[in-house]
Symmetry: C2
Subunit: 144 residues, 2 copies
């Protein structure tokens, strides 16, 4: 649907506008990641591991915005691709310790490049200053 054809009641509703862009955003970013045979959730997982270091799956899900039960499958796949390593925590054998591998770090860099291009396509109508403003406002609205 095109925004300009929508009813004014919707077009001035922040919650509605916020619902429109993510649909495109997910597609753009999803397509960029699909070229690497990865998923948006897996990018979040790799980014968390890179920034915060090895972690249990629970903590990992928490910081990546994923449900504990969905982390399992994505981690399975990342391990099969040797982008992460998963092993039992010897200190607490209930936990898995998940860590990014060197290959995972390399992949992350490539992903980042493609994802940035996707952002450009997504926000192509906004200049650099407007993009910064948008990011700032979204972060503030979210409480960051």
């Amino acid at each position: 649907m095109d925004v300009e054809n929508a009813p004014e009641r919707l077009r001035r509703l922040p919650s509605w506008l916020l619902g429109q862009l993510p649909a495109e955003a997910r597609q753009e970013v999803g397509a960029a990641l699909a070229r690497h045979e990865l998923h948006r959730s897996q990018y979040a997982l790799l980014a968390s591991l890179e920034e915060f270091g090895p972690s249990s799956q629970a903590g990992l899900g928490e910081r990546s915005g994923l449900d504990r039960s969905d982390v399992v499958g994505w981690i399975d796949d990342l391990a099969a691709k040797e982008l992460i390593e998963r092993e039992r925590d010897p200190q607490d054998r209930r936990r898995n310790v998940v860590a990014i591998t060197p290959g995972g770090r390399m992949t992350l860099v490539q992903l980042e490049r493609d994802i940035d291009k996707a952002q450009d396509r997504l926000l192509g109508r906004l200049g650099p200053a407007d993009r910064k403003t948008l990011i700032r406002l979204l972060r503030r609205a979210l409480g960051a």
Copy 2:
């Protein structure tokens, strides 16, 4: 998840930020509409009918951002509640002509009040000027 705990790679990604707020937004607005036993999609349908007048279901879905096949069920419910009327178009008997009823207009006014309150809760961290800026940037990004 809290934004401040997320990896920086995600926190500076517009597409990711855009994905976080709608989750809250849908819940807020959905709860407001649920008090009237209605759904977000149905608000969009009523708003379209009010602003653009009677329409076929296809055109209605187009302007409301809904799939043709999902329109059916929501319209069924709205008709049962007598907020809209649906009848065969005598000019083209393939089509249904859907129109909002006086009761539908009254309901729409009440819905709007509750939805505005939900927006306030959603964007409570932003002042009036920032809200206007956010709306403007989102609309521009969407091509409006």
